[in-house]
Assembly symmetry: C2
Homo-oligomer: 172 residues x 2
């Protein structure tokens, strides 16, 4: 059985709306998803990096994220033919571990927690496919990297791409 490793933030967890909501409240600005075309909030507002880190290291931030449309149904379907692992770069926000675990247990209860991986450098992941919004994780990954479309990666080339979870079902 082939194995698919799947990232969390911006892939199964809808990170950006919560990030923008908290950022706009904290700063009084009105940043929208359109402003993040080809970039990330931390680059667009590097002057507010401490504010961004503060709310992203708040456990409630990751616990409150919405589930990406169709991700539950599609991943449950894929899990019949593929071994599924959730592989998330949690080390950047050590305050997020328990919240991420609880979120996965609630929203992806059909997966075993033995298949959750909290890591940093994803070259440690042994899988046939890695679905991720950050192409940096593909560089030393031995399997096939697949970009999951997010505003910041819209201009990335050189990898297969899926725009949403319905497209993932067609891909596999």
């Amino acid at each position: 059985m082939k194995r698919i490793a799947i990232d969390m933030d911006e892939v199964i967890a809808d990170f950006i709306p919560e990030q923008l909501k908290r950022f706009n409240i904290a700063t009084g600005k009105n940043i929208t998803i359109a402003d993040l075309h080809g970039t990330k909030l931390k680059y667009l507002h590097n002057d507010k990096i401490e504010t961004i880190h503060t709310f992203q290291n708040d456990p409630t931030f990751f616990r409150d994220l919405k589930v990406m449309p169709d991700s539950q149904e599609v991943i449950e379907t894929l899990s019949k033919d593929y071994e599924i692992f959730i592989t998330t770069a949690a080390m950047e926000f050590p305050g997020s571990f328990t919240a991420k675990y609880e979120w996965l247990k609630e929203h992806f209860s059909f997966l075993s927690d033995m298949n959750f991986v909290f890591c940093g450098n994803k070259s440690i992941i042994h899988a046939d496919y890695l679905i991720d919004d950050n192409v940096r994780h593909f560089k030393n990954f031995k399997g096939k990297g697949i970009i999951f479309t997010a505003p910041h990666n819209i201009n990335e080339r050189g990898y297969d791409r899926i725009d949403n979870w319905k497209a993932a079902l067609d891909y596999f």
Copy 2:
């Protein structure tokens, strides 16, 4: 550069003394390391499994573990010639994530936290070597499994074995 994945509990973190101390306090028994020859506390006292789980899911349990003798010096030496990852089966005790992270940051500060991996099923680990006290992790591991001697694994055969960290330095 070849990569060595290293388990935490009973390999770099001295799990058993703290486990026995807390178990004996909680139950009034006097279990010693000699009683764990070829077994684990959870098998020896399956009737007390809830007690064992309760204190092992207490964050202070993992935070208070002593460092295994020579592990810091030897791993720092090995890190000059090998890429080192710490790969721990943290999903069994979700209350332990932050404590394990803080323990690693304190005692193995020469390693990047990008090289910490909290997982369950270690077949997801992509490495050349895995040093672990639990042979079950070697079954679907694609690299070479190396048993780190612990009371419970004393009768295991079929893999290379190192008895302590000084022996690890000779092995590599």
